[in-house]
Amino acid sequence: MDTVFFYSSIYLSIIMAISLYRAVFGPTILDRLIGVNAIGSKTTALLVLIGLIYHRVDLFIDIALAYAMLNFIAVLAASRYFQKRKGLYDETPRD
């Protein structure tokens, strides 16, 4: 069972590299944001899987939970920028 978890975590990290493409090369910033959000949700799963590999999953759940909570804040903050500054490419002058 350990090997299953191990290979699935490796697989997950490779998938993460695919989402990374969007994060690094995304044409607009919102695309990057999608990529980062996707990476975040995969990270949550990966953290729990690492916990299983260490046989100490109860310790890693806390991190994953904190992670799920705080990733949300980061995404909200970044999207809040666009809600307030209504320009994707060039910005409106400051008040």
């Binding site: 310790l59 909570m69 705080l70």
Partner: protein, 276 residues
């Protein structure tokens, strides 16, 4: 410039690689770092402090003095940010937006206009105003109490699981930031005023420093929590464990307050009226 920078960087990298040659193998159990000091921590933590999380024990007890100054660094950053950015001079009020709550009409009041400051019918809104976003606000309202509870859990259970004062404090601060992002800065400041934030940050650090100073009164060294056994009414080993908890609470309070104050000042450039 770029090439010069690259050369400097490469030189630095070569020096680092040169130093790496004599490193012990990665993850080698017999390396000096794993055999000289750390075995003592691992083997005696349970007897000395009865805290299963060795990192917490080392952090708050064996090297508690470092941690105190780590908290001071954070406190210092908070004060520095207020010192640098906060503007106290009240300029003549600029253009402001007000919402008449019963009708939902937005009023734009130009410079010099009369401001309905104390009326309950009007609510001030940000200049770069985002219309009421129901989903985000409601979701955040549902989420915030749980995250706060989780943060308190992290502070309280630093002994048994990863976490502790700093992590919990950051999460607790992040909930207020979340509240500020989903609603607006003024609502958050109403909930937690600037004075309260400063007071809490000083109080948190003070809890840490004074816990240490309290030990002096019992004739033991600074931060030697076993001296607290007389007050807490337990044996010295549990006293250390409880001392660690008290200190972690102090760290949590201080870090929470400083994170919130940093956000207040950074997002509003010290005016503390409208933020991100």
């Amino acid at each position: 410039m770029k090439i010069a920078g690259l050369i400097v960087v490469l030189l630095c990298g070569c020096l680092l690689i040169y130093g790496t040659v004599d490193f012990p193998e990665w993850g080698d159990p017999a390396s000096p770092a794993s055999t000289h000091v750390s075995p003592y921590y691992i083997e005696t933590t349970m007897e000395d402090t009865s805290v299963p999380n060795i990192v917490t024990a080392v952090l708050a007890d064996y090297r508690g003095y470092d941690t105190m100054f780590e908290t001071i660094v954070i406190f210092c950053a908070g004060i520095a940010c207020i010192f640098l950015l906060r503007t106290y001079t009240h300029q003549a009020p600029e253009t402001r937006l007000y919402r008449h709550i019963p009708t939902g009409i937005i009023l734009r009041i130009k410079k010099g206009g009369k401001l309905p400051e104390d009326s309950t019918d009007f609510e001030r809104v940000d200049l770069q105003w985002v219309p009421y976003d129901l989903i985000i606000k409601t979701a955040c309202r549902v989420v915030v109490p749980f995250v706060q509870l989780f943060a308190l859990y992290v502070i309280a259970h630093g002994h048994h699981s990863p976490g502790g004062g700093f992590q919990g404090g950051v999460i607790l601060g992040a909930t207020l930031i979340l509240y500020a992002i989903s609603h607006d800065l003024r609502t958050t400041i109403k909930r937690m005023s600037e004075k309260a934030v400063i007071l809490l940050s000083a109080a948190g650090v003070f809890i840490y420093a004074s816990t240490g100073a309290l030990c002096l009164l019992f004739g033991v060294n600074y931060l030697d929590y076993s001296g607290l056994a007389a007050i807490l009414g337990v044996d010295p080993v549990s006293a250390r464990s409880h001392g660690i908890l008290i200190v972690e609470i102090g760290v949590g309070v201080a870090v929470m307050a400083v994170m919130v104050s940093l956000y207040y000042n950074l997002s509003s450039v010290g005016k503390q009226d409208e933020g991100l």
